[in-house]
Symmetry: C2
Subunit: 308 residues, 2 copies
Amino acid sequence: MSLRLTILGCHSATPRSLAHTSSQFLELNNDCFLIDCGEGTQRQLRKYKVKFSKIKHVFISHLHGDHFFGLIGLISTFNLLNRDKELHVYGPKGIKEIIQLQLKLSNSWVEYPLYFHELHATESELILDNEKVEVYTIPLKHRIYTNGFLFREKKQERKLNMRTINHHPDIEICDYQNLKNGKNFKKEDGSVIQNKELTLDPPKPLSYAYCSDTAYSETIIPLIEQVDLLYHESTFLEEHLELAKKTKHSTALEAGRIASKANVKRLLLGHYSSRYKNLEVFLKEANQVFAHTELAEAGKQIYIDTYS
Amino acid sequence: MSLRLTILGCHSATPRSLAHTSSQFLELNNDCFLIDCGEGTQRQLRKYKVKFSKIKHVFISHLHGDHFFGLIGLISTFNLLNRDKELHVYGPKGIKEIIQLQLKLSNSWVEYPLYFHELHATESELILDNEKVEVYTIPLKHRIYTNGFLFREKKQERKLNMRTINHHPDIEICDYQNLKNGKNFKKEDGSVIQNKELTLDPPKPLSYAYCSDTAYSETIIPLIEQVDLLYHESTFLEEHLELAKKTKHSTALEAGRIASKANVKRLLLGHYSSRYKNLEVFLKEANQVFAHTELAEAGKQIYIDTYS
């Protein structure tokens, strides 16, 4: 059970010399996800040594260019590299048409299985559910249809406590799965050994919530409560609160408030407007209401495991 | 009369850490043109200090991603920077639909005048004609519909030779324009002064031909004859001639042959396949048939004026 997040880009609006637009690579329980894909993401993936073949699922929050203009290039590059694994793209309705039109006009259909999962629901929904991870949408409030994404490791089975099990010779290997599933053990004489004497709690599942772009919205709190890590956009500072409201973005203070109210463990800020040269002020502002705050920056990795 | 070409990217297929896909910025007779626009071009423009507002015309050779995936980002960035000047985009039929679909789905129409000039002719045509420059298409042979572009400075008026004019007090200022236009001067006594005695040749107009991507094609020779600078793709070396033929690209030797047969002044090679680590071999191969050859590389500038 581990979570590793690599920031590929975390600035808003336009790519600049030292400012890469939104993209993140998430490894959760050994499953890999790309979240948003601004222009130049494929170059950032190479820079930070992310193997392209690891990416099986791409999640696009919304169709503003700084979150998806790099997707067509990545999809094309996968083809040039002779990818044969499936690729799943989750994003707002329309994303399939954009990609397919470009592939059609360049006469270069991809030769690997490419699946689009177009989103249009306005309530949170489960969009990926495999053995290890569940992914839910987090409906956000922005100028166009936008989703954040909640990644949750699945709860694991209980762990066998061999120290105590070995004291009970009547427990056989064929009983182990029941114990892992939480059942008590019933002896032949009818007496019962409580499951908690024979097993240990599994590692606590980890969770990550990506919320960008969005105005301040308390409706997301029940969805992201107590996550291990929250990325919440902070395009502006409080001094530009009116601009944040007008453009449906958040301030660093608002991001801190959401983190505090949702009682998350750690907050990561990003999607900075280019008007601010010194990013430390974002940290200072969010820290007023939430202490465990960090600044995203390209190349930064955050690693969390259940024992940390 | 001057030509300055800045290479922004000159590698084929996919952007990599040290390999930028096709894009060039051309300044000709003080008019500015962007030629092709691979992913990340806007970042390269910033890196090499090209002012975005200088770009009024963008020419896209064909709809393979390494030549146009950066266009939507550039168009969007111009809007975010509050551009108000016109932008003209010349490229294959379909380019308008690609750009407009993305603008529509991101709910972000540009607020400056954006004009598309979609190309579909298979013969060379004049596509831009202003006071200073003419631009013609160069139909190329590639896997999809592709044009190169020929940029020609317009011939200037003849220059007044004030040394000789001042010896003829009957020539007045109102006669100057006729002299610039090449007319002889007729004196009141009916005698004639030849124009060439009163004027000097204007600077020779400069010309640049961009030919990428293309298989070896001698049909382009009449169009590019004697240009001051030819950029001709050389994706492969002769050792991969069969692959070049199959994918409708050229080898460095073939690029050299075209340059030689068209009697151009200088040849610039580019669009290298990623299989070659050492680019000097391209130069060596083309040099076998054409001496005045150079290698394109990102950041390289070529400056030519009529006195050089």
